[in-house]
């Protein structure tokens, strides 16, 4: 029996209301008629079902911008720290007391359901899983990932900046999602793939009915029309080959780097970028270690002892961002480090986003300008 159902649109609010009883319900909402942002839903009827790409991506619910990791409390007396907090190094997993110092574990145990996520972002999360959970398992990520249910929507309203279609990361997914909804007008075609997703639907089976043959046909039609709505068709394969063949001159990257404002926006907004920094904050009664979003586009990201900056030239850092996504990802994870969500195109003040640069490289290849 396939994990496919039909949900009448009338029943959506009820379903979400039930889900909200156990989890923080987060969905795309219109903010006072201005932007659409993902935040906790108070009025369920206000959820936007065909939202444009949100800034930043839903990775903010798995790896928050500001993530307290642990807190050291000192009973009775203060820990002596130098005036500039230096990193302290207790084991992350240590939870029991040792001496008078107590390491408090700040794991985020909140359960969340994120509604209205796009397919590209689900594809990105699957890659994040491989980064954070293969080999060394990041306990903070793991905890949140386990507690978060994603309900994605087949995307029939792509932004002009979107290009998931060329990458196989959207507008709909065949597998790897928790729950995927396809809008069939007055009803949703519901698919569940993960165990948690299946459990969630089955737990309220009275809301769902079995799909008929015509529903499958309708869903297929939505898939086709969704595909037809894209403005951009960008292949990352040809830029990858151009780079690997060494056909891009330094001059090309110089021009790209000259336009970089070093705002970090592409990394902050990217659903796949994972750069972070760790810093310690000193309080009167102890110290808190926090993890913050960072970006490899900053020269200090790779600063070494003695103040040496291996990537001092901006061009090296800008280039690296593309190399990581176009070369290293395919080498290590067999996928491009880009899901075509188009957020970098929205956020980059210098307009040197993935789509623009990939298109430019392809243009060079076609014109044979570069030797």
């Amino acid at each position: 029996m396939k994990n496919e159902w039909i949900l009448e649109k009338n029943h959506l609010s009820y379903w979400l209301r039930q889900l909200r009883k156990e989890r923080d319900l987060i969905g795309p909402l219109r903010d006072e008629g201005k932007d659409i942002v993902f935040r906790s839903v108070e009025q369920i009827h206000e959820v936007i079902l065909d939202s444009p790409a949100s800034l930043p991506s839903p990775k903010e619910f798995l790896i928050p911008q500001y993530d307290p990791m642990l807190r050291l409390k000192v009973a009775g007396h203060e820990l002596a720290f130098p005036s500039r907090p230096q990193p302290v190094s207790p084991d992350v997993h240590m939870k029991e007391s040792f001496g008078k110092k107590r390491v408090l574990d700040l794991m985020d145990k909140k359960k969340r359901v994120i509604f209205g996520v796009r397919s590209c972002d689900i594809s990105a999360i699957r890659l994040l899983d491989r980064f954070y959970l293969k080999g060394y398992r990041d306990p903070y990520y793991e905890q949140r990932r386990k507690n978060t249910l994603f309900i994605s929507v087949v995307c029939n309203n792509p932004d002009p900046t979107c290009f998931c279609i060329g990458l196989g990361t959207g507008p709909y997914l065949e597998e790897g999602f928790d729950i995927q909804l396809t809008d069939l007008g007055n009803r949703y075609f519901v698919q569940a793939a993960s165990a948690e997703g299946i459990k969630t639907v089955r737990g309220m089976s009275f809301l769902f009915s079995r799909p008929r043959k015509t529903d499958l046909d309708d869903q297929y039609e939505v898939f086709l029309s969704a595909k037809a709505r894209f403005h951009k068709r960008i292949s990352l394969e040809s830029p990858r080959r151009m780079i690997l063949a060494g056909r891009l001159k330094d001059d090309f990257w110089q021009k790209v780097a000259a336009r970089c404002f070093e705002c970090g926006g592409c990394v902050y907004d990217c659903p796949l970028c994972t750069c972070f920094t760790v810093t310690d904050r000193r309080y009167p009664d102890g110290v808190e270690r926090i993890r913050l979003w960072d970006t490899c586009l900053f020269k200090g990201f790779t600063r070494m002892a003695g103040g040496i900056l291996p990537n001092e030239k901006r061009v090296l850092r800008t280039m690296r961002w593309y190399y990581h996504k176009l070369i290293h990802y395919p080498e290590t994870l067999n996928k491009f480090g880009c899901v075509g969500c188009g957020r970098c195109a929205i956020t980059c003040p210098g307009k040197i986003d993935m789509a623009t640069i990939a298109t430019e490289i392809k243009g060079l290849a076609l014109n044979g300008e570069e030797e």
Partner: protein, 678 residues
Amino acid sequence: MKKIMTVCPYCGCGCGLYLHVENGRITGTSPSRAHPVNRGSLCVKGWNAHEFATHPDRLKYPLIRKGKSLKRATWDEALNLVAARLGEIRTKHGPDSIGILSSAKCTNEENYLMMKFARAVLGTNNIDHCARLCHSSTVGGLAAAFGSGAMTNSISEITDASLLFVIGSNTTEQHPMIGMHMLEAVDRGATLIVADPRRTQIAEFAHIHLRHRSGTDVALLMGIMNVIVSEGLVDADFVRRRTENFDPFEEELKRYSPATVEGITGVKANDIRRVARIYAMEKRSMLFYAMGITQHITGVDNVRACANLVMLSGHIGLPMSGINPLRGQNNVQGACDMGALPNVYSGYQKVTDARARRKFERAWRKKLPVNPGLTIMEMMDAARVGSLKAMYIMGENPLMSDPDLHHVRESVERLEFLVVQDIFPNETSGLADVILPAASFAEKEGTFTNTERRVQLLGRAVGAVGESMPDDGIICALAEKMGYSMSYRGPYEVMEEIALLTPSYGGILHHRLSDGFGLQWPCPDSSHPGTPYLHRKKFAKGLGTFITVEFQPPDEPPDEAYPFLLTTGRLSFHYHTGTMCRRTAVLEREEPECLVEINPADAERLGIRKRTRVRVSSRRGSIEPRALVTGRTPEGTVFIPFHFMEAAANILTNPATDPGAKIPEYKVCAVKIEKIGT
């Protein structure tokens, strides 16, 4: 997770951003996609704006000096003490023995209340704020020429311009989101002319980059205008219909032939001719300037020269045509608009104008002082000679931001009583007798006015940290203690009072600001949609006035003893005196120390390599930063950012000021450089 729309607390761009709140704690920031200024982008400071607000260093309760240390006190104790001491000093030495520094970081409502506090409660016009140090030349210079001293266009017009003339502004680093619009304009085919001694990032995109010597802006602009006149490129119709005083100005211009100007500025005569032709003949020309124009002893003249240039070619009073001073602080435009200045009430109504004064006297039910008060630099001088006894400083750090810091410290130390109201302890609060903890931008309501005159509503994301209070609450409580009732239900009521008394804010009310993204003043009544560009059909004051200016060299040019020209400024990762950004992990990590930028040729001559420790000395003091060898800075010039207390550039800077605006010459002083490390 909640997301609250608010306005970025850093520069004057006024970007819309969301603060993310989880479990009552601020956890992140993201840009607004629909906002007309940032359109889904933010600079690195904006992206990290969430972090400092929750920093453990935040001042959480009032502090009172007991001997050498500061001790925790209750609000009542602290406010009683401030009220008593200020009252005492006022009785004994008169109201003008007290000086107030308001803050361009605070909201319009708070600035309005602060100026009301100074004038109605204390009875002095001694109120000023950091606009004195950045754009007082603009406020004075443009007001005299046009009747209004603000950016004449809107930021969103930039992308449609066909010519951008940027002088003395490192736009991509200091106003990144305006830089973004400029870059887009260039991509769409606009011509970009940059005049800046340093090769900044925006200069890399310039079709023409004029690297004139620091402090020769008047000569450069006069040279350009000389060509415009001599080649018959003047918009004669515009000059005849809309301006006055052209003839004496034209006479003065004759002295600035391109050849003469080349001698003064070091810019090739041919480049001057090219720029003049392009600028005058192109339509939709926007001129931008910032600190490179204003922070000189000829700051007002520099601004006047810019104003003359736009009038000469008729590039003003239309969309995509105008003169655009880029304001530095998130609310420096608003703080000026609110009259946190020694000579004007809100809306630039002069304190010397009896009618205006009468209006405020009737509204505030208090006799108001007649004579204009002291500017920041004058307050410091007065403190030094002992005529100023007390200061109340809100959200400013003059011990880092004013020129010639040794002198400033001495002056402040001589005060009998110093109150500092801030969110973090800083260099200035170290000398305070009372410290009042204030709420940050994330914890209060009110409005900021950005550089394009857009009045925008803040969103309150969380409650104030510890016992801290929003600045407006503190001011009102203190006024009550001093026997003057200031009672408002909230900032919206303050705004109503502002609207009542300030013609340009007449229609600016909080409930109107929440739909869309605020309103741009002038907005005279509650049905007015706001004004995207100024001086349409006629100038604010009627006819535009050509004000004749004359080139004068900087106050302290390099000489044999001090052979280098020092110019100061900011870095993209930091902001002013660093109280916020240096408590932000990524920003501080990027630029953890002061580096002096020196040209490779000079460096080689002095045996200085990358990161060599050097001593930079001026006649006023010395600092010891490391060197950054770069061709960005021209030969004979060094550049030092002023963010770092460990090597404070303002120990070196020259306190000489423009005679009109009293703005110090941060951009030019003479220094010598010695190598002390390897």
